[in-house]
């Protein structure tokens, strides 16, 4: 009975289930936030032993280079093709440079690079840490009086944070080059107007800086999610594999949601 109405018990189950799920998610969010703050507080070791961070920059950044550069090139080339197709109908082919550059620098660069980063580096981080938990390595570290958050989590956080904006910039640069390849070299848009119109329209403060800020925020989000999922995963093979998929899904959603929020905030300033 709910408020005097006879409701069959069975139909309440999915609703109860949903409520339970929501409450659990919110609770987990709180735990994740605390985990994030703890990671920041215990970053002293990273400052004293930068080599730990360098190792992680290699593992998250350098190893993601290939996928970022190749994807950037292809995205830029597609932008060149599609953009030319559309601009042609308005007789504004020379604006191709502006179209490619602005799309990449403001949106596609940070967002797509972050999505790729989440699936490559994010899932790797989750798997690594989840596996360390499953094989009792984290516990062993604790028993040896070494703080696993300072030694394992924090370096990966800073490594990911440093890599993300660099990867986004490389993505955008490759994309613009791809657009140039298709637009100027292949199709024959005027090279001079391609670059000069682009330079006139792309503003450092508004567009490029915006993109960098976005990529930094995405870097934080993806890395924290990946670290938390790995640390929180049940120490079994199944638990780790589930956590890895969760990382990619949650990171992707977070990136897109944050993208909207950031764009709304920053765009209003213009």
């Amino acid at each position: 009975m709910i408020w005097g109405w006879p409701v069959p018990e069975r139909s309440l189950i999915p609703i109860r289930h949903l409520g339970h799920r929501v409450i659990e998610s919110v609770w987990r969010l709180g735990v994740a936030a605390r985990f994030f703050v703890l990671t920041l507080m215990r970053s002293g070791t990273c400052a004293r032993r930068p080599h730990l961070v360098i190792r992680e920059v290699f593992s998250t950044g350098v190893l993601s280079l290939i996928i970022i550069l190749v994807s950037g090139l292809f995205v830029g080339m597609v932008l060149g093709l599609q953009g030319y197709d559309t601009l042609q109908t308005y007789g504004s082919e020379e604006a191709l440079g502006i179209l490619v550059a602005l799309s990449l620098v403001r949106e596609l660069g940070p967002v797509v690079a972050a999505l790729l980063f989440a699936s490559r580096a994010g899932s790797a981080i989750t798997a690594e840490i989840g596996l360390m938990r499953a094989t009792e390595q984290i516990e062993a570290m604790q028993m040896m009086a070494v703080d696993p958050i300072a030694r394992v989590v924090a370096p990966r956080f800073w490594g990911g944070l440093i890599s993300m904006p660099l990867l986004a910039a490389l993505f955008s640069a490759m994309g613009i080059f791809g657009g140039y390849l298709v637009g100027v070299v292949l199709i024959g848009v005027d090279e001079g107007s391609f670059w000069s119109q682009m330079q006139a329209a792309v503003d450092f403060g508004d567009d490029i800086l915006q993109g960098v800020i976005k990529s930094v925020v995405f870097g934080v989000a993806v890395t924290v999610i990946a670290l938390f999922e790995g640390f929180d995963a049940p120490p079994t093979a199944e638990g780790v594999s589930r956590a890895t998929t969760r990382t990619v899904v949650t990171s992707s959603l977070a990136i897109l949601a944050l993208d909207f929020v950031l764009t709304a905030i920053m765009f209003r300033g213009v």
């Binding site: 080599h51 890599s163 660099l166 910039a169 490389l170 330079q199 450092f204 490029i208 960098v212």
Partner: protein, 160 residues
């Protein structure tokens, strides 16, 4: 992997990333051009600025010589006050005129500076006296319609 090889790769990666950022800033964006030059500020009042926005270019003879830095409102005279930052390399006579133009048919609006004939030059803080507000499409259409109407009435009157 060996410690030194690792460091090398990371160094290359960071250098490449920063290089990409610099490329974006200079070749793609407008950082290399105007903003870093030294500027002096002058003011101009307009009865209607139309769609003029801050950071719009100030052009003379089609060349960018400055930027609009601030747009304000004079509550006494009910006009728009626009502050222009002009490149220190270029001096303009005191009687230069500023008008708001549109680039292309439906493009963004900018300020066109036409040099006057005076000997004295504009200094920082001076005010450009001769201004021409933006052309508002509705007013233009209204003028056209009434102009047509007047011409028709005139022709009718003459025919009578």
């Amino acid at each position: 992997m060996e410690r030194t090889t690792l460091d090398l790769w990371v160094g290359l990666f960071v250098a490449a990333g920063i290089g990409a950022l610099i490329f974006l800033a200079l070749k793609v964006g407008n950082l290399g051009s105007f903003d870093s030059a030294r500027t002096y500020a002058v003011e101009a009042h307009f009865d209607n600025i139309g769609g003029l926005k801050a950071r719009a270019p100030v052009k003379s003879a089609g060349v960018v010589v400055g930027r609009v830095s601030e747009i304000g409102f004079d509550a006494q005279k009910f006009e728009a006050t626009v502050r222009l930052d002009l490149d220190s390399r270029y001096q303009f006579p005191k009687d230069s005129s500023a008008s708001i133009m549109t680039s292309g048919l439906l493009g963004e609006q900018y300020i066109a500076l036409e040099a006057g004939g005076e000997e004295a030059m504009l200094k920082s803080g001076d005010r450009i006296q001769l201004t021409q507000g933006a052309v508002v499409l509705e007013q233009l259409i209204g003028q056209f319609l009434y102009g047509k109407g007047d011409a028709a009435a005139g022709a009718e009157g003459e025919a009578k």
